[in-house]
Symmetry: D2
Subunit: 494 residues, 4 copies
């Protein structure tokens, strides 16, 4: 294998040049980045959630911009409650509300450079936008986490109720329609990856309809349970009761404007158990999606091939093996689950906050937004794949046929037992083992067995049918599918 003619190794040279080019470009970029925020692109970002798995519809709830707006909204609600009680004039309140409507993340971050305190920065920015008369009332009686925890409860609730739960329900609808369409499609049931006894493909999907439905309801309930707080720096309403006699009803007044309820008791922060419930419900649900993806991935294996992600004409399966049809969507969802599932631990760690709180839950809780976005990305991707899922009924039947003459073991042993065979399971197990060793089917072996023959003559026709027509041996699979669909349509008001 000859070298290139020239003694100069151009590659090495080029690579060096390229590296230098890169460095220069990077340094230039870096300067520009500092000079002008807008030079950032999403590809300058580090988190895949931002450059690859973002969900635009969630930006108004879960981006940092949105968070600032939500916090400002809580400040506005406070101003209104203060004005309602005559603490300040209506026009000053209006000034504050307007200012709250206008603040942006960029100016808050700039101010934070100076104050090194995020909420104080927000307050300063709002104050700067209002008259000197209005200023004293901005944030009055509030502690930072009255604002932060309340804003978070509100935006998580909004993101869940307006985007994520509807997305889950849309996915549930798709699964329901697959279950309905495939409720009679014969499929071999598999346990331990081994052919067991038959079900229908619709039945397999109906199990997911049920599990997802259960998780949706729990997530809804968890979202509804989110609470705000307005009880001050240590939760005892110290500041508020310095101003009002009825601190708790003042708290209710502020939160009522945001459609939130206060926690029964709080410290500087809302007790962490309710947001924990939300994240737990999300991850429990996410794991159901992961299980679905695993099932579909395996049903798409070359040797099984019962389902597949539909392939786009222009889609490339492999950069080197052009024939590949890979379950990349299912793999993607499973993979993102692997990244985010362990985040539940962060929540348990954050259940611990010393005394009236320490701040070690602050940065960590900011990442809840990222979890919700990644989760929603997966829901949406899974919905799209599920809608286009290719089901190969013919192949399902062929796979079933591989084992049709062996899976009679269960009905055979039951019928033997019902006809008084004292050791029916062991009898059939022995026959199965013999069949396996001789490379025959259980049916063949059973048919040649004298003891079986003796009992067979006692079987009714229906019993024979049950044993020897294994494609009928699907129990109440179809009926169950209908029942499950009906149940979940009602529970979820579909």
């Amino acid at each position: 294998m000859s070298k290139l003619e020239t003694g100069l190794r151009p590659g090495r040279f080029k690579i060096n040049r390229s590296e230098k080019g890169q460095k220069e470009r990077t340094k230039k970029e870096s300067v520009e980045m500092k000079s002008k925020e807008s030079k950032f692109s999403r590809f300058s970002m580090f988190s895949p959630t931002d450059y690859r798995y973002a969900v635009d519809d969630l930006r108004e709830y879960l981006s940092e911009d949105a968070f600032v707006r939500y916090k400002a909204k809580v400040e506005a609600a406070l101003a209104i409650a203060l004005a309602d009680r005559g603490i300040m004039k209506k026009e000053h309140c209006e000034e504050i509300v307007r200012a709250c409507d206008e603040v942006t993340a960029a100016e808050v971050y700039e101010e934070e450079e100076r104050t090194r305190h995020d909420i104080r920065a927000l307050v300063n920015v709002i104050r700067r936008r209002v008259s000197e008369e209005a200023r004293p009332y901005v944030h009055l009686c509030a502690t930072s986490y009255d604002i932060v925890d309340t804003a978070n409860a509100l935006r998580y609730k909004d993101a869940l109720e307006k985007v994520i739960i509807p997305d889950l329900i849309a996915l549930e609808r798709v699964w329901i329609s697959i279950a309905a369409e495939e409720k009679d499609t014969l499929q071999i049931g598999r346990t331990h990856g081994q052919h067991a006894i038959p079900i229908t493909f619709g039945f397999a999907i109906a199990v997911y309809v049920h599990r997802l439905g259960t998780c949706i309801l729990r997530l809804k309930r968890a979202a509804e349970s989110l609470e705000g707080k307005f009880s001050g720096a240590v939760g005892a309403y110290n500041a508020i009761s310095a101003v009002f006699d009825d601190a708790e009803s003042f708290e209710r007044d502020v939160l009522k404007q945001l459609n939130l309820k206060p926690a029964l008791i709080s410290t500087q922060i809302v007790p962490p158990e309710n947001i924990l419930e939300v994240v737990h419900a999300v991850i429990a649900c996410f794991s159901v999606l992961a299980n679905f993806c695993d099932d579909m991935r395996h049903l798409q294996r070359s040797e099984i091939a019962e389902v597949s992600e539909r392939v786009h004409e222009t889609q490339v399966g492999s950069s080197t093996m052009p024939q590949k049809r890979n379950p990349v969507g299912f793999e993607n969802v499973k993979s993102i689950w692997k990244r985010f599932m362990p985040q539940i631990l962060t929540m348990h760690l954050d259940q611990i906050s010393e005394h009236q709180r320490d701040l070690t839950n602050s940065a960590s809780q900011r990442y809840i937004a990222e979890l919700l976005v990644a989760f929603d990305h997966c829901i949406r991707r899974l919905k799209r794949i599920s809608e286009r899922l290719t089901v190969d009924r013919e192949r399902m039947r062929r796979n079933f046929n591989i084992s049709r003459d062996d899976i009679i073991a269960e009905p055979l042993y039951i019928m033997l037992a019902l006809h008084g065979h004292p050791d029916a399971h062991e009898k059939v197990r022995t026959l199965s083992f013999k069949a396996y060793k001789e490379g025959k089917s259980l049916r063949q072996i059973a048919m040649q067995d004298e003891e079986i023959a003796y009992y067979l003559q006692k079987f009714t026709d229906i019993q024979k049918e049950i044993v020897f027509n294994p494609e009928k041996y699907t129990g109440i699979a179809q009926r169950k599918v209908e029942m499950v669909i009906k149940y979940w349509k009602e529970r979820l008001n579909l």
Copy 2:
């Protein structure tokens, strides 16, 4: 430092002898272990849950012996349901029920050596104890996990409802009584480990009363949600509908005897989400205990010393520092939490089971029992420590006094704002910073400040009292304690 007189290094010699002795003893023991089970002691065990943190009251639910008994109980319920429908004679059913009442783990394990299948081993053992006529009906129509999942639902429910939840409620009662007793005890509130503004110690405890109460209710609900199943090998009732027309009502009949409901739909196993809820509720609750322990540990620090675990006269604090009074109970609970909290991940991993199930959740789920025992050990230990908690009110007041002249910052800035100071927070922050730098108290600095003086003359007497009597600045702490206690006594029927 001289050697021992003799040239022989006795230590080296001794150690070697000792090692040899140990080896011999161990080998001998090992032989004996094989020959006779009873030679095991709990100190031969590997898991601290068994040799150190066991809870005897849970053995009848959560030991392996108990598990075998529970599975046999489900087999008995099946026999009765079969007999109820006339499939077998009453006397045969009675034989089976009696046999189920008598099986032991030891004989099942012995049989499992042969069958390498735990449930088949159990069935064989039961079968051996009944007449030839009764044998065909043992386990008829059931698949292993009809028995296993149902038995687990039942025993976890029993363990929770009969032991663990009552233990939690007992702990809640202790905390309620501390909250009540200490509701007026002045304590400095702490955020970021820094003195903030005052609360009462009862208020701090009331937060835990609320969080624990919340968790108890959720755990109760989760325990109630546990479901059984009797839907056969792949969940489609294949075997049962070969015998009965109404497979689902047969399932209900079996489970009704055990006070369980069936899952709406199942595969070979009950959908994993309900047992997940139980473990989640346990760990959420465990984390609240861990937080409590951390708080108490820190309040017991030498410099703070507001509370302490009561010391037994004979208790040794340190093997080398005889003066130590260590919060070992609180540390123990926190430590066990660190071991078991991550088990939640095992549950999420077990939410994934391929197709109609794979067996990779089998061994892992066996460890739920260990979690429940370790959790209950912690509840009980924490209850004992809490009952004997020493609260040093005098010290609390002294600690409060350290900051009494600085924590006026919040009420001062609020009053300034209410009197129209346009930048009250910044004003007080600057004074505080000055005080900090000059090593004075904020009160001292504020009193010398002309601008403050100008506003002070506008303050009402009550307002002055609020600002300058910081021990009164506890908001509605006392009222909140009462309210929280009342609420939880009602919710938990105490």
Copy 3:
């Protein structure tokens, strides 16, 4: 379906009786348990590690009995070092060494009831066994964790070096022999669960040989890195330097007798990073086993059936489906991995210990023994299954044949490219897509394509062979197997 004749529902009755029977029995048992330790059986235990997955060979290192013996061994080493320096008489030292050789867990636990301090209990028990003259020297200058951490380092090292690593090497040997035997066995390579291009089965196993080998080396290194300490209560050798001028060399002397080195610096405890390395290495290795099990489970799927766990004649696959051949061993290992893998988090949590240490790592670290036992159980089980693994070469070839005419895509596109086709990958991808849609093989479609025909005529014979003899398209699989085996045999001195 008729009821039993009698109006009495015998089942209900029986069940009730049975419950009562159980309660009585249990209560009786419970009394007995208290009265006599020996009434415990392993089935009274809660942890599956104790009643089901125990490894007897590890009891002398990892049981609680063993732990007490190891701690006593460290006390003996201390006594010898003291005697060596003339602090006490040789005969007193011998008394202590003998006492250390004789203490049992049972007596220590009994004493701990009183002292509530485990090491002080041990010390008291040793002291009781020696003369009054020897007593002052028992544990002199030591703090509890000088003993505990040193004993743990020692027993973990012993368990790893004497049992677990040899077991891993035994498993590695088995895998090496499979790789060697199957190095020429054609198998379709699979990516995304899809047929890709061929390898040999030996090659697939060789990857595991390499990964396991890597992990064994790391575990060995981690085990060797374990260190002891004898630096006293806060790590500054306060007590020791009150007695000796050369505290560090005294520490070295104590540890030298146990073949351990001291940590460069310690607090009350050895820095946690080295034991973390051990647990990390264990879990990294465990995950390789889990991957192997997953691969084998999938290769055992009914539709693939390339390998299987050998079945015992008496083994029951399913309690209800007698024909099943389940990969229960592989499933078991995967399942135990799911339980123990998250324990790595406990280690990271235990890296945090406040100041010169808090005790919140005490209970949690006790569970390392359980992890090691469960891990070793899995190694041994996997070795047994691997030894008996059934490889179906015929089936492997049949599975390969399914795709033999499609997997030519890669070599075809490469040859096209080498012959100057400007867009070879896209060309072949399009043909593959066409083949897929028309239900034909890529070979068929390619053979009919004019453009392909044009390039084909340029191919050399060898190139045609490469493209159209896909069973030869296994790269250097065989050579790589040999190389990997050779490498690891040398590295592990096999």
Copy 4:
């Protein structure tokens, strides 16, 4: 508290308007976002790593832009190796190298919209930039993960070696200088949060110097262990050996240009254990930082106040309590640790990849970049805080004094023992308990005790000094600090 005069509730109105305003703005934004990438700001992002904790210096390694550049660099190295062996002409190679130098993430993502395959998209984009003659050689013989895994190894190595490890070393330097400066500063040692026996503050820091040093070395070693691969779609070099006889040396040639070594054997991907080691080393190190932060947080508690984060004049401690001096930096680092520490689990999950690989590690591994950035943010922040750490030596001595008369317990019991007291520990423990109950110091009680008096007269002057001059009882703390600093300066070439 009166309402505002007007019946109209302006707040409610305003809020509604505001909501509407927000919606409109958001919708407008959303449209703009779609129309023009540059409208994104970092505040539109979801991940705190992007909008808040980003490290600009890491963008050239760990941003998505950088990843594309690194992948292109690997494609260039491939082209050069192909040209070196005469497969293509030098000028075509130069075209490809130049194209690789120019591609951007944005164009790759646009192309990926069509191909739905990231590497194929990159390849297409490169191809488009070169002449028709050069095209066939782009990506020839490579599979996607030859590129991806190699690029990742390279960029992670670069990020670690060029930024993160230097940052760690910079932090280590700061800690070394604190240890050196404070090596004689008396501080009470604390175990269980209780005063134990004295150390020096430098000694406490030296422990961290050692632990961090250990972790840095491990991280370096792990980074060096990262390997690339060029073994094709299933790892058997199928494609490469179709073109070259010496596939492995071709692989070495490609990787040599990137200063990487190949894995001994690979599948489609590099064995996951080496990148696991990197992440493990990162998290082990991160946990040491977290421990340091916890220690400092507690030392900053109001009652202890031995250290504090220096406060900026303009910094706001609390939005409502202007006097607060919070350890927000330490809290921030601890909090981010809580979020990222559990990511180690994702790595263990990703150790499992079916057969020659499935894609479920793809998305999850993308998040390694985010971890590295968050980690580096914490290192840098901690370095800044550490540099400005305020140490209050006076306060340390005052805290020590609290216990100076009790901590004599250990030396007292040792001296008693050395003078033959048969039960010295118990004697001193009893005295300590008495002191505790009577509210006296141990010294006071001991001085009044007759038995003690008897032994005291036997003490040498030096022994009395050791016992009754507790500020001297710091063992070899100072010497150890020097030794540890020396050791780590050498090991890390500082």
